[in-house]
């Protein structure tokens, strides 16, 4: 019969929606990777900051608020940094969770789409 070339597999609206969903998830995955990287960096910076704080013997620390460095007593700076660390860690946890969920959904969709289209579709990163 006919050689391959123009494949005759029909693409239904459901298939199209699956492909769209996969594309959306893939984009979200990359966004999440960036956000996670930034959150990890912020966490590291806060860690370094609180370490420096322990080492310093100054009573008043210049703490960045907005665009200026305000003179803030050491204790207040410590509690501020602790708060910021908590927020960032919680945020990081949420992002990691979302990333896992996105990866799982993508794996599901890959199974479905490869099942129907086989070689006619490519869902890998180039």
């Amino acid at each position: 019969m006919q050689q391959g070339g123009g494949s005759e597999t029909e693409v239904t609206w459901d298939d199209q929606q699956n492909i769209n969903r996969f594309s959306k998830l893939n984009n979200r995955f990359h966004e999440l990777e960036d956000e996670i990287r930034i959150a990890k960096e912020t966490n590291d910076n806060l860690e370094d900051a609180s370490n420096e704080l322990i080492l310093t013997d100054e009573e008043v620390v210049r703490f960045q608020i907005g665009e200026v460095f305000a003179h803030v007593p050491k204790d207040e700076v410590e509690s501020r940094i602790e708060e910021m660390k908590e927020v960032t860690t919680k945020n990081l946890g949420k992002l990691e969770e979302e990333k896992d969920s996105v990866l799982a959904q993508m794996a599901e969709l890959k199974k479905i789409l490869y099942g129907k289209f086989g070689d006619s579709i490519n869902l890998e990163e180039d």
């Binding site: 006919q2 050689q3 070339g5 123009g6 494949s7 005759e8 029909e10 693409v11 239904t12 609206w13 199209q16 492909i19 769209n20 594309s23 959306k24 984009n27 210049r62 608020i65 907005g66 665009e67 200026v68 460095f69 305000a70 003179h71």
Partner: protein
């Protein structure tokens, strides 16, 4: 060219000025209905794709702007909150600020009931701390809401791009397939 037949639950046909991509149930029917041959259809679809890409770039730029604006507003809120906290204590707030690149100076900010907010267009207005907080909070919420709408727009746009890309592939494949059939058919006729 609005979405015609096939009531297979297609997506919205347009969103905020972005035309929806028509989903094609069957390539042959689509080409017949549009009265186009494969090449013209491909050309039309490619052009659509380019238009989508342009809009995507514009939306991405807007998204970047908003994403930069939001932390700025949050920093402002932080400062106003700090000033308000200091108000009761009676001592001034000492702050080092940047006078010019790399050059800092110390400022002594006394107890104050008001702050000045830059509203843009070379306009700066004085507000009480409470009013300033309220205004900044409202701006923050607006920015976040705009960002949400923008993200939804981008998702819609990307869906249309994907649909168009898949349609292009299918039309192209269909065309290749048709050519193969014609080629296979020709030798038989000649004999």
């Amino acid at each position: 060219m609005m979405a015609s037949s096939s009531g297979s639950g297609e997506a919205a046909t347009e969103r905020r000025g972005i035309p929806g991509a028509q989903f094609v149930e069957d390539v042959q029917t689509y080409l017949a209905q549009a009265g186009l041959d494969a090449n013209s259809a491909l050309a039309f679809l490619q052009e659509r794709l380019q238009q989508y890409k342009l809009v995507e770039m514009k939306l991405l730029a807007q998204q970047r702007d908003l994403q930069a604006k939001i932390p700025d507003i949050e920093k402002c809120l932080d400062i106003v909150a700090t000033l308000q906290a200091k108000k009761g204590s009676g001592e001034a707030l000492l702050a080092d600020f940047e006078v010019s690149e790399g050059i800092y100076s110390r400022a002594r900010i006394e107890d104050t009931d008001s702050v000045c907010l830059w509203l843009g267009a070379n306009v700066m207005l004085e507000y009480s701390c409470e009013e300033a907080t309220a205004l900044l909070q409202k701006n923050l919420e607006n920015a976040k809401a705009s960002l949400e709408v923008l993200v939804a727009d981008l998702q819609f746009l990307r869906d249309q791009v994907t649909i168009t890309q898949v349609t292009i592939a299918r039309v192209y494949n269909w065309d290749v397939h048709q050519k193969r059939i014609r080629q296979a058919g020709a030798p038989v006729k000649d004999s």
